[in-house]
């Protein structure tokens, strides 16, 4: 790890955009969305002190993409290298979760890895966490220590750039004329800012301190009516799963083109009625309450059992996006209360249910 200083962010981004397709966050209403970087200077670059409204998965796992062609065969193209500026700790953590699913050794999804390998990650520090942010429940602290190529911290009169990989270091070395040394006083200022973010996260989520792990809370409250009650607010818009940086359900569908056929890979949502239905008509999760429960069980129990990590980073995007008003933090709080008041045994202790 090496740190350098730059006062002019535009100069840094211009150079990056010369080497790679560069995407940057732009303010749009009360949130940030990603757009291709425009080096003409007509647009001001907004340094995002909070994660963008859309998630990083869109760069790696687009809403809809070509998966195969018939006749013949489709192997994902060699993409041009691209860079994303402004990813934050929650985004980086979500990528490590998606990696587990899509880069399993014998089942590597080359549509995903083709993009992942070409991605240059320029993360930024989160200094203004949103009201819905609760990443501190999942080891989030608002800044990254690994999983990035370069990290940018906004600081008095400029920016501290830290290298996080050999690719990142090469970039800084190649353009050493742009960068200066970081005065020690600015590094301690960065530490102070980071500590401020952590403090804010802890304060705003003080009510989310549970006496059990989230996994235990969700696993032990499967009979709770909380799911059905919460699901009454759900309008099945599926926004929660779309904005979620870790939700990765998809389906494959076939299309006729002019003189060939394709298979497309498109996002799906476990909140959708027919999601798990089979052609014979069986559907294990007909009610919204059952689907909401499955969503939480997948995130906090099943994924943990399989990969050793929760499938949630506490970014709060689902809270912001939910048209019906389901707040994951509130659901967890209610489940925690239920678990406490009814002293549910853990699932493994329960007798098997025949149906």
């Amino acid at each position: 790890m090496e740190t350098v200083f730059i006062s002019n962010l535009k100069a840094f981004l211009d150079i990056a955009a010369e080497e790679m397709e560069l995407y940057v966050p732009e303010r749009s209403g009360e949130r940030f969305i990603y757009n291709r970087y425009d080096s003409s200077g007509r647009k001001q670059v907004d340094f995002n002190n909070i994660r963008a409204g859309t998630s990083v998965k869109e760069f790696l796992f687009p809403v809809r993409e070509l998966a195969s062609v018939t006749p013949g065969r489709f192997e994902p193209d060699e993409l041009r290298p691209f860079a994303v500026f402004g990813l934050q700790q929650c985004d980086i953590r979500s990528m490590s979760i998606l990696d587990k699913v899509f880069i399993e050794e014998e089942f590597e999804d080359r549509l995903y890895t083709a993009r992942r390998k070409k991605m240059f990650i320029i993360s930024t520090d989160c200094t203004e966490p949103g009201e819905s942010c609760f990443c501190n429940l999942f080891d989030g602290r608002g800044f990254v220590e690994s999983g990035f190529d370069l990290n940018v911290s906004e600081i008095k009169d400029g920016f501290i750039i830290e290298t996080g990989s050999s690719k990142g270091k090469d970039f800084v070395d190649r353009h050493s004329e742009l960068f200066g040394e970081v005065p020690a006083v600015l590094l301690s200022l960065r530490d102070k800012n980071r500590a401020g973010t952590q403090k804010q996260l802890e304060q705003q989520n003080a009510e989310l301190r549970f006496d059990r792990t989230i996994r235990e809370i969700v696993e032990s409250s499967q009979e709770a009516e909380v799911y059905d009650e919460e699901a009454e607010k759900c309008i099945e818009c599926q926004a929660c799963t779309r904005v979620c940086p870790t939700c990765h359900c998809f389906y494959l569908y076939d299309e006729k083109r002019k003189d060939y056929f394709t298979k497309m890979k498109m996002w799906d949502s476990c909140m959708r009625y027919g999601y798990a239905a089979v052609a014979g008509g069986a559907n294990p999760r007909k009610t919204l309450g059952d689907r909401l429960k499955h969503r939480l069980l997948h995130k906090f129990v099943y994924f943990m059992d399989r990969y050793g990590i929760e499938m949630c980073v506490g970014c709060g995007r689902c809270v912001d996006a939910d048209a019906g008003g389901i707040d994951l933090r509130q659901v967890l709080k209610e489940l925690s209360e239920k678990a406490k008041s009814q002293a549910y045994p853990l699932q493994g202790d329960k007798p098997a249910k025949g149906g």
Partner: protein, 273 residues
């Protein structure tokens, strides 16, 4: 480098056999070197229309062609039924884990099936009878709704019944004038004395409701959940444990199954729905 997981390879339909009013068997020849284990499944693509999962019904020992028995149940299977000899389809797979044949060696294998569930069972049955001496016996209990719904009729009522070490009993939910055998759902022909419940391996495959009641019956007989093997049917799309549709608890049916022991999945919600 791994190949693209979602790319089907070509596969020609070389013969079509009418099994019943709603079920046909398709004999297909996949391009290249295609091998599977009994109980594994494939995704069959009708180009431009869609894809659906099926467990081959032929023996894996036959490697130059493969049979897939398909019941009309939804949009893709309806279109597959309209396919003709010589037509090209696509195939991905094989996927998942099949039956643990080696674990059955030296034991009685107790097969309970219903309806089109006989398709995967046929593949298993042919695999077992190929080396019948390795198993104590193969005891098969199979039921369909009406006599005309039986599939693989010729073998089922003839050749298979004559194999030494094989014991087959059949039933129908509703009889017609010709039917002289048992009437009732498949659990009515299961008996505690069919096999030694303390050592036999039970295999259950059929419609979900039949699997549920057959499993409960086997438990009642004293089968331990570790020795009840279930072929689970769920919505499956990717086949490689990613897309999420087929989850039963932490398991992906497509990758960890489709064959599970009841012990593995009994604690999870809605396994029969």
């Amino acid at each position: 480098m791994n190949r693209n997981l979602y790319q089907p390879f070509g596969c020609e339909i070389v013969d079509i056999i009418d099994e019943s009013a709603t079920i046909k068997s398709f004999v297909v020849v996949p391009e290249g070197d295609f091998k599977f284990e009994t109980g594994q499944f494939v995704e069959l693509t009708l180009p431009g229309e869609g894809e659906a999962p099926f467990t081959p019904s032929s023996s894996p020992a036959v490697t130059d062609k493969m049979e897939i028995t398909i019941m009309k149940a939804g949009s893709v299977t309806n279109l597959l039924h309209q396919c003709t000899k010589g037509q090209k389809v696509g195939i991905r797979g094989p996927f998942g884990n099949g039956y643990p044949i080696e674990d059955f060696v030296g034991k009685e294998v107790y097969i309970v099936g219903g309806g089109v569930g006989l398709a995967p069972i046929r593949s298993l049955f042919l695999t077992l009878v190929d080396r019948i001496g390795d198993f104590k016996s193969v005891v098969c209990r199979y039921g369909v709704r009406r006599p005309e719904d039986f599939i693989y009729k010729k073998a089922l009522f003839g050749q298979w019944q004559r194999i030494d070490g094989v014991d087959i009993k059949l039933t129908v939910d509703e009889a017609d004038g010709e039917w002289k055998d048992n009437v009732g759902v498949v659990t009515t022909i299961l008996s505690k004395d069919d096999v030694d419940v303390n050592s036999a391996a039970a295999v259950v495959c059929g419609p979900p409701v039949m699997m549920k009641y057959a499993t409960l019956k086997l438990l009642e007989f004293g089968f331990s959940p570790e020795r009840i093997y279930l072929s689970m049917e769920k919505n499956m799309s990717c086949g490689v444990g990613k897309c999420g549709h087929c989850m039963i608890g932490k398991y992906y049916v497509c990758k960890d199954g489709p064959v599970f022991t009841y012990e593995q999945i009994k604690g999870y919600p809605k396994i029969w729905d």
